[in-house]
Amino acid sequence: MLTVDRREFIRASAMAAATLAASRTSRAVSLPILEEQPEGSPLKWQKAPCRFCGTGCHVMVGTENGKVVAIQGDQKAEVNKGLLCVKGYHVGLALYGKDRLTRPLLRKNGVLTPISWDEAIKTIAARIAANPKGFSFYGSGQWTIPEGYAANKFVKAGLGTNLVDANPRLCMASAVTGFLSTFGVDEPPGVYDDLDKCDVAIMWGNNMAEMHPVLFSRLVDRRTRGEKITIIDMTTRRTRTSDLADHVLFFKPHGDLAIANGIAHLLIKNGNFDRDFVAKHCNFRQLGTSEDPKAAPDMLGVPMTLDEFAKAVEPYTPEKVQELSGVPAEKIRMLGDLFGRRELRVNSLWCMGFNQHTRGTAINCIVHGIHLLSGHFGKPGDAATSLTGQPSACGTAREAGTLCHMLPGGLAIANPEHRKHAEEVWNLADGRISPKIGYHAVELFKRFNTPTDQGGDITTVWVQVTNPGQTIPNLQRNFLKKKGLADKFLIVSDVYPTATTELADLILPSAMWVEKNGMFGNSERRTQQWFKMIDPPGEARDDAWQTIAVSHALLEMGEAGMKDKSGKWLFHTADANGKEVPIWDWNHYYDVNVDERLFNEYRAFSRFKHKDLAPYQEYVKSRGLRWPVIQQADGTWRETRWRFAESDDPYVAKGAGFQFYHSVTKDDKALIWFRPHEHPPEMPDDQFPFWLCTGRVLEHWHTGTMTRRIPQLHRAMPKAYVEMNRADATSLGIRNGDLVTVKSRRGEIDLPVWIGGRGDPQPGSVFVPFFDETKLINLVTLDEYDPYSKQPDYKKCAVAIIRKA
């Protein structure tokens, strides 16, 4: 029973939160700020980044008697300044679903049977030892940085393969190739501060009001304070972002390519591009040709002059762009004028609309290009910013390098100098790191779902912290075929049963969020840290421990790869006296801070590409720091907000103004690419006349495995649906709530129709969210991907809508 005081406190907090939310048009709310803990309060408050999205809001977590009992926004955090969205306020409840996994389970004769951790670890080690080249890790942008780093080292140093990939392949890979193609190094040059300074914010296929509500509220709040800020929503369907935008521009799938080229055309034609900036700091590039007609040209491209670039974009007149994109010509001119005005600060923002795109690298490059061409770069408010959906897609997959073609610190497997550097840091023999790139996510699961005697060379997959059974495109081909392949072995480390554990042979219960130490890296290069606050339930254990324990088991079996060239175990850890701590034994795992040990080793990689990280203890003291973080003369550590700009980036030479020090062309210049408009690989036709777009909803985070177990969020959005345009529905005799079949060439599912709801697709399009594991929309989606990033396109395929009788 609640005490009167506590009940009144909670009631007051609830009313304050609801009142603030009701009084504002954004979706973020703030709680009454508590400067001091009430005297005698039994709650212990500690900081942590939120478990959910890539915004990286900080929360204060209140624990009592070994349980999370309260959450509030962290007022000291620069990212969110005490605000949280509706998911953030409920993040504590994500730990307490009734069906948490608590014991290792091995499928014996088809039955999931509890086993000991010892048996589980030995089972995995034996499986890997029998065929190390047939083993792949599949991890996640929800891996903490130490977890991902450990898995990466296990595979690339320990097994000598590059068979590790992660789910940012499905969400951010095209952003990576876009940054690399333009700047020679990954991740946004700008930061969230740009939202506070811009005059124009352009959402490029990005429903920011629902997907990054705390960031969107920074834009909306500026308006309530009387600031003039223009929000432009470029979208394929009306959403809550549209409701708050000054201009809503509906475009056809792949129309974004044409629109961006149209802006470049107008900048050249009107002569109001930043000629001086371009001359000093940019080169132009276009794709070359490939000897193999089936292969994509390489990412380096071939040089072009400004005149050649002008000629290339000449066809993209406003009228032509209208034809290709559906956006009226006068709106294209409006965009061209905006970009041409040097006195405005323009912030472009995108997320999955650009990245889950078979020309994702191209559209990323073109939008970077129009910012460079127009000089809207590198000043507060002038930025081209990709946002991430996962809490550590940047910090783990992209920075710690848990992708099949990467090494930590943004280094590349394909580069011999980078492999040598990794061998030095890891004290490995020359040539230990394989030059052969591993399999990207779709290819990995395709091979895992192919009979071994038909080229399916991946026979064991270990999935940690992600749910490919719900997220891999074309599930029937790329995931469900595993059912009939008896020699394939799927290991899943997770916190709840999921669509993936349905087919698992071995299920391992994992610790979650504040049940373990952790570090994340958010969308603005901010590395954040937290300490373990409570114990995980049952026998659940940290994912990093699981990896380390298997590594040690392999060492004991005589696998030489698990030692460095000095004979020391790859994860050897000593205490302050130099004595080895047996961290492979769970009873001793927290005798030392393994996170700190792994992170400080990983730090050594970060300087190579000027992504400098501070020592672990600096992150303990702060609400995150944005790299590169450089130590000052007085011993303090200074973060960097605007990269490549002399005004803020310590690596830029004095007097340079801007310096792209990882320039592809090795002349400190960035690249402005010409990439043409191209149609999607699958388009509606008579048989499948609708475009299908998939995506997310405010209440649920990704596949819903956490948020669907939070009663309030589940109630607010209990099940998936298909949004239809009213005119389309009427023409098919479909009414709101009717059950229909959404069918593609690959599969079909039945869904209730929602007309006139939160989102409203354009005629000829439908939208289905992917959070509902009872409605697997990825049975229907297409597994075509960008030729450079290998990222699949979840936003466009052709479907039929059939009303069920």
């Binding site: 907090s13 609830a14 939160a17 939310a21 709310v29 009992v69 349905e502 669907r708 177990r709 009663p711």
Partner: protein, 97 residues
């Protein structure tokens, strides 16, 4: 005890929205706060998770209520989490066929 802070979005129609306000105000489980146009702050207090769910269903079905947002939830031991019906493996079950 379950305490939630909600934002209720009322219908555009003045008649049904006023009806909704009357119904909300007269419900002992609810405390109605300030109104901002079509949005009104409400706190809901129920003795159990089951009662909370029942109230939720009633609010969603209430004439004049267009949408409900959740702004706050008090995490209390007695508000037992509810797991949605998921097709997931349990110990002792066979592989999904």
């Amino acid at each position: 005890m379950s305490i939630s802070g909600l934002v209720v979005t009322l219908s555009e129609d003045p008649g049904t929205s006023e009806l909704a306000v009357t119904l909300l105000t007269s419900d002992r489980r609810l405390s109605v706060g300030e109104r901002f146009g079509r949005r009104i702050a409400v706190i809901a207090e129920t003795p159990s998770a089951e009662a909370d769910r029942s109230l939720w269903d009633e609010l969603c079905a209430m004439p004049g209520v267009e949408f409900i947002d959740v702004a706050y939830v008090g995490l209390d031991d007695q508000a037992a989490p509810h797991s949605p019906p998921l097709a997931t493996p349990k110990e002792g079950t066979h592989a999904h066929s």
